[in-house]
Amino acid sequence: MAEATKKDMPTETAENMVTLTINGRETTVPKGTTVLQAAKELGVHIPTFCWHPKLKPVGACRMCYVEVEKMPKLQVSCALEVMDGMVVHTDSDTVKQGRKAIIEFILLNHPLDCPTCDKGGECDLQNLTFAHGVDDSRFEFQKYRFVDEGMTTTFDDRRIGPEIILNRNRCILCYKCVRANKEAFGEYDLGVYERGSIAEINAAPGEQVDNPFSGNLVEICPVGALTNSDWRYKIRVWLTSTTPSICNYTSSGINTLFFKENHHNKIYRVTSRPSDDIDDGWLPDVTRYGYQIVNSPDRLTTPLVKKEGKQVEATWEEALEIIGKRFGEIKERLGGVCVGALVSPGLDNASLHAASRLMRVGFKSNNIDFRGDYRYLPESSESPFMRLCSRPFKIADIDDSDVIVTFGSDLIREHANEYLRIRKAFNFGNARIFAVNPYQTKSADVSSLELVYLPGTEESVVNGICLAAIEDNLVDAKRGEKFKLKTPTKSSAEAAKVSGVDRESLRTVAEALAEGKKITFFTGEIITRSRQRDLIASALINLHRLFGLKGRAQMSALARYANSKGAEKLGLLPNPRTVVVDKLRGLWGEYPESPARNTDAMMALIKKEEIKGFLILGSNPVMLYPDREFVKEGIEKLDFLVVADLFETETTELADVVLPLASWAEYEGYYVNLEGRTQKAARAVKPIGQAKPGYEIASLIGEALDPEMFQNEQQIHSEVRQLLELDSVIAYPDDFLEVKADTDGSQGDYNLPLYIIDDWHHSGHLTEKAPSLANFASEPYIEIPPQLASELKIAHGDSVRVESEVGKVILPARISEHTQNNVVLVPRNFSSSNVTSLLMRKKRVDRVKISKVDE
């Protein structure tokens, strides 16, 4: 609401300001503010049920009654706009009486089963009844009860989704859940049915409430009508204490709050910690339920050491002794360059930096990378793609952008929080939103125009937009001439033909970009995962230059993981920028001159047996690197592999020493979100078993190699602080860049593009261990567009054989609701899917053929 009115609000000039009196205090607020907000700004508390700061007001509960002089009746302050000279009383006897009556009225049919209700102790209705209500009811009749057929319980609890449980008797019909679902998330799986006193909130007929933001509905419910099985009958809220933290699955650094219990050393749930700059108080389900992996009984608790081909439990001393000995041998015999490391971008700054120091000072090797699931990474840190990545980006700026372009990103799956921002701009602002993707996505439902290009033709789309602008004189002609020299595509019609997007659409985008005053333009994972990311980035940099977007646009490639940005800034790349290298040399007094290898190069060298020892912190390349055979063969050839992770994974199976890693909830860590904002995740619980945080593991390994290598937490943090202070933005080049179109060769029979995605409710390789998220999806599947499915006679749930040039897997089919064009999607989050064995790292677009398995 606050945002909604602020949007339409005129600027704060004198004639747009309104003066009113609330409880005898005068205040001046902009026109269009509601009385409730004005009172809030004054610090006057008005009780509410149905009002939510991020939703439009409805005035359903009428709890926010105020008395306005010269108005005959009590007024609903949440929906009443301020007027000049208004005199408002929020605490008069009439108001008190009104509130009492409303509470009595709401309680008419409310079951008063607080002892069994999970909301008990944090319930708005409980609190407000205590504060404003009466202690007895005059209602002498039977309370109305919703009763389901064949219901066996005394309560009316029914599951309306994999996680959500609805109790219609407790509902006070504030409509907050339905409004949030519709306005904020764009979902229509929950609605109000029937009328009058028997009106009920329920799932849409035949549907389940399983949208990726459904957890928020439970959080905003003022009573216990919506609860989730995550928190159901676990613990009373007053027995828990809270710890502020941030999300480890998304790159936005969504602010969260852990509810934990110290005696059990256990986290019980996660709720939002609203921050208007980042998350607006909405959490995607992966953030809300993903914490469950911390409490998982499958966690690694002790180090494992391989003895006679079998991994057996060992103590830290034993494990470190072996690591020190074996790494020491390799270092002495072949030099430190024969050791490599791969770290997870989900680790905190200190862990990343400690790993970097271990490699660069301990081994004098530059073989370190944090991108374990991307192929053909850019060699240089100043490549066009890295330049694009380094551009500043502000999440809050999406709100008032008038043109928003999302390029190659299935937003909900990878940047759920930004999707909600864009939806807000779509609902409350007047932004023109363009979704440019190789397949139709659900996220595109907020776009004014969806451009679907043929897979692997990203640069043609961008060039097409530029050429359309030049041809229609939307940009400076001189720049247009210069641009034309650098691109092989001659006209927008040609680009349209290559990319499969019609020219009119390209022109519409060009027009919007030329006119837009505040533009947000970002690329997502489809671009980042592409082998030709540099080419696409060059095209985008050209577009930036051609349209003169400097100063009126934020254009960036968004980071994917919780601390990807931090890893970039701390120089976890094989070739960090010169500023970072100089700083590191200053801090350590030395910096290795050895050749730098990124993930692909390291894997290739492992296969050639040039890298003998390898350290993996929190990463799972066997499952996530887009060429499983390549990685697996390589890793099996290693002399010595150390893996630290939360769980036993495909990678830990191959390791000589497995170390238990502490999760982000178990130590204090700092993470840099995609805006470059450093945020703290405090320690909520003690590490499970003997697990240790990443920085400690790196420091201990360093110490095992050379006792002088050890660094304590303070030393690491002070170095990290100095590194983060460096300016990370890399300037764009002064001229247009060369963009050569590139395509894979023909792939014969294999002609169906395959995209590896994240499931709606999963992220990375760990979330399948969270029971609540597994309730949404626990099995791998292949998403097939409906017309292709009908062509091949594949029904929902059928087994489908997916073949590529290198591999074959069998997956159950799921008919896509959103994708119409010819691509298939497979989630990468389930270890049983083996989907990466279909991929080849050299391909730009992976192509497969599918057929139904006859039983």
Partner: protein, 168 residues
């Protein structure tokens, strides 16, 4: 001589006078109790060991809401809820530490389901501290409520005639 007479006088005159009280009590009902064969009846509002009530159909009344634990000034109650077969809330674990408990009866007052009561049992003696932590099984009243009358008579006979109970 005088002193001898005095002593004899004391024996025959003063001692019986003193023994009058003793002899009087010989014919009075004793105020001590033949514990543990006989037990003092407690008043109806005595606050002894806790017990947990059931509904008539045998369902536990306790829903594990945690209000008794919240009200407990000695922090003697610990509980963990769970979901029963019907989807209702009930206690998976309900423990009272009788060594911590001060028998104030706040739990009884706080209980919104009329599930916990302080009973008449006051005999606590164990040889280790852990045995003072009583669980749900120790506290729930048996269902069906009434014992078999024959069994009760048998137990009583054994108690009166001092036969040791081997089953315990």
């Amino acid at each position: 001589m005088n002193e001898v007479l005095k002593a004899v006088g004391n024996i025959f005159l003063k001692m019986p006078k003193g023994f009058v009280v003793t002899f009087k009590h010989l014919f009075k009902k004793p105020i001590t109790l033949d514990y543990p064969r006989k037990k003092n009846p407690m008043t109806a509002r005595y606050r002894g060991k806790h017990y947990l009530e059931r509904y008539d159909d045998g369902t536990e009344r306790c829903v594990c809401c945690g209000l008794c634990a919240a009200a407990c000034p000695a922090d003697a109650i610990y509980m963990e809820p769970e979901e029963n077969e019907k989807g209702e809330r009930r206690a998976k674990m309900y423990e009272i530490n009788l060594l911590r408990c001060i028998f104030c009866g706040f739990c009884e007052e706080a209980c919104p389901e009329e599930a916990i009561f302080l009973g008449q049992v006051y005999e606590f003696s164990e040889d280790n501290r852990n045995s003072f932590i009583v669980g749900k099984d120790d506290m729930l009243v048996p269902h069906p409520r009434k014992d078999n009358p024959l069994k009760r008579i048998y137990r009583r006979v054994r108690r009166v005639y001092g036969v040791t109970d081997k089953s315990k």
